[in-house]
């Protein structure tokens, strides 16, 4: 199934590969990208280890040739994973679409997985704890209990066309992306090993920083409650005139960094209001954070709604340094071709492919001040975490 983005329509899920085509005639590169969902119940730690192994080569490409071929434009092969998702991105010269499709398909369907590579990936992941902020967003799991056979079991399920969306973007013609992937994702043999049930693996935490968080339901454009909730997240935590910055940093000096984040889950973006705070200071609970924000919400006027809309528009254009839309803990939405491809591919994977940035912005513009305040108050009573 092929989706040309200009005419992006809601899709009926099918078992064959979904290809999103994104034409930008002025682009200097082509982007070939794949998004994949983790199998239901997969152990997040094993899933991330498998993702790390994917850059070690495939049955067709050695590690060296994979990195060298994917790195032709100077933008290296990018493979990222969260608990539920995985993305592979290659950026190649304009005539590189077929090569890119070959690389991406090979990475997903013929990964070179063996005990040596898996053990190496575990060792490197254990030795590279992410930064405190990224670790909180990502919930970095403990990799010490990952077993090679669990990673192999996930590798056997990777590349199942029903769980994958590929995006091709750049100076391409309609149908080019579909043609480039034609026959590349074949049905895979039945897995030989069961996947291990999701582990209640401990999450690593940093001692010097604590986090306080309120999070809302996954955004669903078909749900009337979602646009007000999304705009509320902008009004609360995007920009230095947002309520979080004003109340938590300027008003109380509780924190240097406090932001709204739209976190990518397998079902769509989840709004999260996150505040980082020194561990050595007095603990702040999520309820205290909500209590500090409520008076700000009560004071909102139409100027606050308009500021939030302006921040939303800049974010949806990929032009905001503090863009809340995340594709991973370390990657926010930007105006790059790869980022625009990621928006389309990710939403297609989550079943919300019809949601173009213009459509989404139009939904936000229709939110009234009272709807905005009500949604923000709902977020204050949302699921809270502190760690």
């Amino acid at each position: 199934m092929t989706v040309a983005l200009a005419a992006c329509l809601a899709l009926v899920p099918r078992a064959d590969l979904r290809v999103v085509e994104f034409r930008d005639p002025d682009a200097r590169f082509v982007v070939v990208q794949a998004w994949a969902k983790a199998p239901e119940g997969a152990d997040p730690a094993a899933w991330r280890v498998m993702a790390r192994c994917l850059s070690e080569g495939t049955l067709e490409f050695s590690r060296e040739s994979l990195l060298s071929t994917a790195g032709q434009t100077g933008q290296p092969l990018l493979i990222e994973a969260t608990d539920e998702l995985l993305s592979v991105t290659v950026v190649l010269p304009p005539d590189g679409l077929a090569v890119g499709a070959h690389l991406v398909a090979s990475i997903l369907t013929q990964p070179r997985l063996n005990e040596r590579i898996i053990n190496g990936a575990v060792a490197s992941l254990k030795s590279e704890p992410p930064g405190a902020w990224e670790a909180h967003l990502d919930g970095t799991p403990d990799f010490s209990k990952v077993r090679a056979r669990d990673v192999l079991a996930l590798g056997e399920r990777l590349g199942n066309p029903a769980q994958v969306v590929v995006t091709t973007a750049g100076p391409i013609e309609r149908g080019d992306g579909s043609a480039a992937f034609s026959g590349r994702f074949k049905p895979r043999p039945s897995p030989s090993q069961p996947i291990r049930a999701q582990q209640a693996s401990p999450r690593l935490s940093r001692q010097e920083v604590t986090f306080v968080e309120l999070s809302g339901p996954v955004l669903d454009p078909a749900d009337a409650a979602s646009p007000p909730m999304a705009l509320a997240a902008f009004a609360l935590g995007v920009g230095k005139d947002g309520a979080m910055h004003r109340a938590l940093r300027e008003g109380r000096q509780w924190s240097y960094r406090q932001e709204s984040v739209f976190w990518p889950t397998s079902k769509g973006w989840r709004p999260r209001l996150v505040m980082a705070r020194r561990a050595s200071t007095e603990t702040v609970s999520p309820e205290q954070m909500a209590d500090a924000l409520r008076p700000e919400i009560d004071r909102w006027e139409d100027g606050d709604r308009l500021r939030a809309l302006a921040m939303a528009e800049a974010s949806l254009q990929g032009r905001l340094p503090v863009n809340p839309f995340h594709f991973s803990a370390s990657r926010r939405m930007s105006d790059s071709l790869a980022s625009r491809a990621a928006w389309a591919g990710y939403l297609e994977l989550t079943g919300k492919g019809a949601l173009g940035t213009d459509t989404f912005l139009e939904l936000l513009r229709q939110v009234t001040l009272e709807e905005l305040k009500a949604a923000a108050r709902d977020l204050m009573g949302a699921k809270a975490t502190a760690k």
């Binding site: 590690r63 060296e64 990195l67 060298s68 790195g71 032709q72 434009t73 100077g74 933008q75 290296p76 490197s124 030795s127 590279e128 704890p129 992410p130 930064g131 405190a132 902020w133 010097e208 920083v209 920009g239 230095k240 005139d241 910055h245 940093r249 300027e250 000096q253 509780w254 924190s255 240097y256 960094r257 980082a276 705070r277 020194r278 561990a279 050595s280 100027g303 308009l306 500021r307 302006a310 921040m311 528009e313 800049a314 032009r319 905001l320 340094p321 503090v322």
Partner: protein
């Protein structure tokens, strides 16, 4: 080709569409450039750093935090209501404020910058509150960044003090001291206002001129001179390589070597700041042992790394010079020390002057640095 910028003399102006540069009587430089930027612009206003001592280390950083809010703390509301965002940054050689956004917001952006620069009182309780925020900021600084600061201070002494500062020193600051510091920082000498994007250069330059010409010239306050480090040094938590001045072809080769290594070792963290003076490129590691990771990467094949690194460095260069944000950043930090600096010529020189063999030599130097 003779750059129009090279013809500029103090007090005069040379206009060669689509760029305009003004040298103001107080020493400030104004530069406006029209370029296709999708209906957007990037504005940067830069001020020189004044020397810091152990007693005042971090006061400039504290001033940057406070000044960015404006006297009535309305700067962010003003900017963000137009879909723009103010970034404030303290470097070893400068304090930098940037605003990017849709072109119809340019006048508002300058208005916001004027609020940032306004001469004003800093209340003691306001200062104390911001010191608490700085302590929160420090807690979030990653170990690789801290290791880089240590390397700079070890190798350059007083000329390499971290831009962040020390909490002990900022706790000694008060409102009067910060106002006095502001009067030394927000001056014409060493100041640059530069914009690039879909703007009309003459109108933009005149508007920025009005913003900066009211500032006093300020007294000379030279920073301690950094002498080039003769060779790389492997510290426990970071590897420091000598980084040539930005206009030296060795700049891109050194960056390419680091990018090549990091392309196969994703846990490495590269840190450097383009400068007209020699400095450092630091390679830290999330694992805390960058030397081991660099050795491992180089063992994979220096030829591949040199090629990957060269491509990555040239891609970085193309994206930097090709964007309004990159061009204003480069001009803001380099024009005072390199009056003839032109991003396009710089890119051309770097592209032509940096070959894979140069990156390979930089990799060999890096390899020697990390040998056990």
């Amino acid at each position: 080709m003779l750059s129009s910028l090279a013809l500029v003399i103090a007090g005069a102006q040379v206009f060669e569409s689509p760029k305009l540069r003004l040298n103001l009587d107080n020493g400030a430089i104004v530069h406006a450039e029209q370029m296709q930027a999708g209906g957007r612009f990037s504005l940067a206003v830069r001020f020189r750093a004044v020397p810091e001592t152990t007693e005042t280390h971090g006061w400039r950083h504290l001033l940057e935090h406070l000044a960015a809010k404006g006297p009535a703390k309305e700067v962010d509301r003003l900017v963000e209501s137009h879909g723009m965002f103010l970034l404030a940054e303290t470097g070893r050689e400068w304090t930098l404020f940037t605003i990017s956004g849709p072109s119809d917001g340019f006048a508002t952006a300058v208005e916001a910058m004027e609020q940032v620069l306004a001469d004003r009182e800093y209340a003691d309780d306001e200062v104390r509150a911001e010191v608490t925020v700085l302590a929160e900021e420090l807690a979030l600084v990653e170990s690789a960044q801290r290791a880089s600061w240590e390397a700079w201070e070890t190798l350059f002494g007083a000329a390499g003090l971290s831009p962040f500062g020390s909490l002990e020193a900022v706790e000694r600051a008060d409102g009067a001291a910060l106002r006095q510091l502001a009067s030394r920082v927000f001056v014409g000498r060493g100041a640059v206002a530069t914009v690039a994007g879909d703007i009309e250069p003459r109108v933009a330059a005149e508007r920025m001129k009005r913003m900066l010409q009211r500032l006093p010239a300020g007294s000379p306050e030279p920073l301690a001179i950094r002498q080039s480090v003769p060779s790389g040094v492997a510290f426990a938590s970071t590897v420091a390589m000598p980084m040539p001045p930005v206009r030296d072809p060795g700049f891109l080769a050194t960056l390419g070597a680091a990018m090549g290594v990091s392309s196969v070792q994703p846990g490495l963290v590269i840190g450097t700041t383009p400068s007209a003076a020699p400095g450092l490129l630091t390679i830290g590691s999330k694992s805390g042992d960058p030397a081991r990771q660099i050795r491992k990467a180089i063992e994979e094949g220096p030829d591949v790394l040199a090629e990957l690194g060269l491509r990555s460095a040239k891609d970085w260069l193309a994206r930097l010079v090709g964007s309004a944000e990159g061009r204003t950043y480069l001009r803001a930090i380099l024009l005072p020390e390199s009056p003839a600096f032109d991003p396009d010529r710089w890119k051309q020189d770097m592209d032509l002057g940096t070959a894979r063999s140069d990156v390979a030599r930089a990799l060999a130097s890096l390899r020697r640095t990390v040998e056990p």
